[in-house]
């Protein structure tokens, strides 16, 4: 399945950059924002982005959420739906500081994901390492594919 990704092609990024400067100029002059042209809006989706893999007996869900404290992260499982909720707090910076660049977003997030099959709610584990959250969910036993042996007569 081919997905067109804006921003992946270097030519587009140059144009994006130019567009962004034009937008900034436009905003400065008129005070209105054109959402459809705002690159951040165009790419905006539910946070965090998730990758899911199907490992025969389990599902593994990964998300990149750097700089989180595990106490600010909440993971819940309900039936075949996984729910991730949390808050990415800004780092302590002290007073009298000025920003040169501020690209790292902070704020709250909540995202649900329905898995393709039933999982065993008692058998879910999660680890957070180097900014990557990994949730491993064991599939419910009854749904595991079963091998059927063929007997010859």
């Amino acid at each position: 399945m081919f997905r067109w990704r804006f921003g992946a092609d270097p030519t587009w990024r140059e144009i994006d950059r130019l567009q962004r400067s034009m937008d900034d100029l436009f905003n400065a002059l008129s005070g209105t924002r054109k959402p459809s042209l705002d690159p951040l809006w165009r790419g905006a989706r539910l946070f965090p982005l998730l990758n899911v893999r199907d490992l025969d007996q389990s599902y593994v869900v990964t998300a990149e959420i750097p700089g989180m404290k595990t106490e600010d992260l909440e993971i819940k499982i309900e039936g075949d739906t996984l729910m991730l909720k949390g808050e990415r707090k800004p780092q302590e910076v002290g007073d009298e500081i000025s920003y040169h660049r501020r690209e790292r977003a902070t704020g709250t997030f909540q995202r649900s994901l329905t898995l393709p099959g039933k999982v065993d709610a008692e058998n879910v584990s999660a680890t957070y390492k180097d900014g990557v959250l990994t949730v491993t969910l064991q599939k419910e036993k009854a749904t595991l594919p079963r091998q059927i042996t063929v007997k010859t007569e």
Binding site: R5, A8, L50, V60, P66, M68, H100, R104, D130, G131
Partner: protein, 133 residues
Amino acid sequence: MTDQELQATEKQQIAHPEGEFTREGTYFVPAVDIYENSKELILLADMPGVRTGDAEVDLKEGTLTIVGKVGGESDQGEPILTEYRIGSYFRSFRLTDVIDQGKITAGMSDGVLKLTMPKVEKAIPRKIAISAD
């Protein structure tokens, strides 16, 4: 600020990371915060998936380069959903003379690289006492 909801954005890929870092693999631009206080400049870079030992900070001729190497994706099982891509990180900055380049320190935790760059003595604002005549 804390009531704001986070939006996800796609990673920006770099076509050709310059110089010695042109190795096999996909490179992305890490999001950074750069701020300064009276005595130093602080840089925070989001590089999830990079272990402490796999981050490189290089300073050459006034150009600071940060690289975070990320191991290959797990090839266990079948991917069902792929909303983000995995790859290494690369970004470089020109440093001004305000930074005391010999005193830069770096630390990595939970996928966030933190660089502390102290300013040179003469760049630190000093209060001048006014004496009454």
